[in-house]
């Protein structure tokens, strides 16, 4: 199709994957056109590699190599596996929305049990509803790159959540992605629309069922937050140790609203969580935080682009990585302050703790400031555990492992404590504790 561009085997393979998948992708007419345009964009850009600045440290051509074919529709056996995985991943009391191998499974989900003011539909049903003129818009997003285009082309399903103006959700909504099929891809795309004055907590969990290995999870979440609303989004990624997870969050925040975002990456051989957050209404506040807990040869990338488009907004980012063995963590944080965005207050701090000489942390904070009356700052550190602190604890009777664990918990605590929901904060903390214990 495009003779001017030299393609790798990988890219040729992708065209085939798309052609093969076509029959499984919901939506015709305009939806199919958008998908076709998206795959064309992807084909033009190709799988991101190290010469693309935004992907410099996460070269998918080297790390991921190819896009795997779509996972088959989950059958009865797959659902039985998924049910088992769900039992340990599901949060008590949350409204569960479960996707197995990229497909919403109604029988595992609380689709009907919504709280007042919440509507949940599947992406598939909306894309297939030819009466909905705007349906193709669900595959478009303000921010885009090769992987977001690929997601738009290939998305099989997802959840589309609407929260009415003023709705105050008492319990969190939890989207659980369960991978059952090995050596296959799942492409999911979800939307969350939060009305003015509404308050919502969304948890997104990624887990592997039983023997699922070597799979790829490709996810996108598009969120629009109205005015004077509060949204907490906690993402807990615990995919199989040889899996790939590429997720993009694209979020727009209205005036006077608060977004509290938290990501924990524990799983996956190769992962990237990228957030594109636009402060689109004055007086909004963003708190974006995360931790990477990586060991073995895991590669985890968290990339956040915070776009201050309007004045009087505040953004805070706290990111922590704990790396053992030959693990590799990447944090890229860019704060953009547009010419009109006076009185912007933006700060980010990223710290990596290296428990082994062979671990690697790349921290790349960037400020792009076009306004002249702003307060912006960033900091980045990488290092080992402080020997003087370790000795103090050991002199008080703690073993080396106990002393390390206590200091690592404290190091992570600075990020985990930013989670607003008490149960979620405790849960995230216990996941970190579990990771530390498994290390010892």
């Amino acid at each position: 199709m495009n003779v001017a561009v030299v393609k790798t085997g990988t890219e040729r393979r992708l065209s085939d994957v798309f052609v093969l998948a076509r029959g499984r992708l919901p939506g015709d007419g305009r939806v199919a056109e958008v998908r076709q345009a998206a795959i064309a964009t992807y084909e033009r850009l190709g799988l991101p590699h190290r010469r693309i600045e935004e992907w410099k440290y996460t070269d998918l051509r080297a790390l991921m190599r190819e896009v795997l074919p779509l996972a088959p529709m989950p059958d009865t056996a797959a659902l039985a596996c998924a049910r088992e995985a769900l039992a340990s991943a599901a949060m008590a009391g949350a409204l569960k929305l479960v996707l197995v191998d990229g497909v919403v499974v109604a029988e595992l989900s609380d689709l009907g049990a919504s709280e007042q003011g919440v509507s949940v539909r599947t992406l598939r049903e909306i894309l297939e509803n030819t009466g909905n003129a705007a349906r193709a818009d669900l595959l478009l997003s303000e921010a885009s790159d090769a992987m977001i285009s690929l997601n738009a082309a290939m998305a099989t399903d997802g959840v589309v959540i609407g929260v009415a103006d003023g709705a105050q959700l008492e319990t969190p909504i939890q989207i659980v992605h369960i991978a059952v099929a090995s050596q296959a891809s799942a492409f999911t795309r979800s939307h969350v629309r939060i009305g003015n004055g509404a308050r919502v907590t969304l948890v997104e969990s990624f887990v592997a069922a039983g023997a699922a290995r070597g799979y790829q999870a490709h996810d996108a979440v598009v969120v629009s937050i109205g005015d004077k609303a509060e949204f907490e989004h906690v993402r807990l990624m615990a995919d199989a140790p040889d899996a790939v997870n590429i997720t993009s969050d694209i979020i727009t925040i209205g005036a006077g609203s608060k977004l509290n975002l938290f990501n924990m990456t524990r799983g996956g051989a190769v992962s990237r969580f990228q957030g594109f957050i636009k402060m689109a209404g004055e007086g909004s506040e963003l708190s974006a935080n995360g931790v990477n807990l990586l060991k073995g040869t895991q590669h985890g990338d968290t990339t956040l682009v915070v776009d201050h488009a309007v004045p009087h907004c505040t953004s805070r980012e706290i990111f922590r990585a704990v790396l053992d063995d030959r693990a590799h963590s990447v944090f890229q944080g860019r704060i953009i302050v547009r010419p009109d965005a006076q009185k912007t207050d933006g700060k980010m701090m990223t710290r990596a703790l290296l428990l082994s000489d062979e671990a690697e942390a790349d921290n790349k904070p960037e400020l792009e400031i076009f306004a002249d009356d702003v307060t912006c700052g960033h900091g980045a550190t990488s290092g080992a555990l402080d020997e003087t602190l370790l000795f103090y604890l050991r002199a008080r009777g703690l073993s080396e492992k106990e002393a390390q664990a206590l200091l690592i918990q404290a190091f992570l605590g600075e990020a985990i404590e930013q989670i607003g929901n008490d149960e979620l904060r405790d849960y995230a903390s216990s996941l970190a504790q579990h990771w530390l214990e498994a290390r010892a």
């Binding site: 604890l393 002199a395 008080r396 009777g397 073993s399 106990e402 206590l406 404290a410």
Partner: protein, 251 residues
């Protein structure tokens, strides 16, 4: 009777430099020893080597604690056996609540000795009692270990730990540094409350002032990595007048 602590002909290097050149010191249970001396005489090195701080190379001599070879033990084993070093500069540990730290440390020591862990109510009761006697407010215990504490508060926190862990040997490294007279009095009162026939203390200090509050049984003068003179509590007063210069040649 066996001595609690026997330091015999101890030689210690840091990197290529020898700091202690054959130091000998014997401390019996129930005694309070003061070690005085100028900067660089090796006082803090001695305290660090007894506690097991990494970075010191023992090239000769031995340290016996309750008859056992202390140098063979990891720092946490020494703590569990009853060695306590009150740090000259207690570290700040952000993110570790003081209460969590105290409980983890106490239970780790008890576990190492084969004792049962404290129940939460018993532990809280004990901490509150000790904290009250040391004038340590409850909110300090909720904060990160030593985070935002004043110099006096940090030293009181060390004394609090001493009271809680009930060690048989307390080494107080320059406890008076950075303290005003009121803070010093509170910390010293805390230490005096822990004087016991079952416990020994080694008080390391530059100045005689601290020894007005914690009155020693024995005073040692250190110079250039050795104990050059030992005597009763009056030796400290003598030093205050004559200074350390007289020992320079002796060393």
């Amino acid at each position: 009777m066996m001595s609690l602590l026997e330091v015999k002909n101890l030689q210690v290097r840091v990197e290529e430099r020898e700091i202690l050149h054959g130091l000998t010191l014997t401390v019996n249970t129930g005694e309070i020893h003061a070690i005085m001396g100028p900067n660089g005489s090796g006082k803090s090195t001695l305290s660090h080597v007894i506690a097991g701080k990494p970075g010191y190379e023992v090239t000769g001599g031995e340290i016996l604690f309750k008859g056992e070879d202390l140098l063979e033990m990891a720092p946490d084993e020494r703590a569990a056996k009853g060695v306590f070093l009150a740090f000259q500069y207690p570290v700040e540990i952000p993110g570790v609540a003081t209460m969590t730290f105290l409980r983890t440390a106490l239970n780790a020591q008890r576990k190492a000795r084969g004792e049962s862990e404290y129940s939460t109510p018993d532990f809280l009761k004990k901490v509150r009692e000790v904290a009250k006697s040391l004038n340590i407010p409850q909110d300090m215990l909720k904060r990160g270990v030593n985070v935002g504490f004043s110099g006096g508060e940090k030293k009181r926190n060390e004394v609090l730990q001493m009271a809680l862990f009930e060690p048989s040997l307390c080494i107080l490294d320059e406890m008076d540094s950075g303290l005003d007279i009121d803070a010093l009095r509170i910390a010293a009162d805390g230490v005096n409350a822990l004087r016991s026939p079952d416990r020994a203390m080694v008080v390391i200090t530059h100045y005689q002032r601290l020894l007005n509050y914690i009155v020693p049984d024995v005073v040692h003068v250190m110079s250039r990595g050795r104990v050059v003179k030992s005597g009763g509590k009056d030796l400290a007063l003598e030093l205050e007048e004559s200074g350390y210069a007289q020992f320079d040649d002796a060393a």
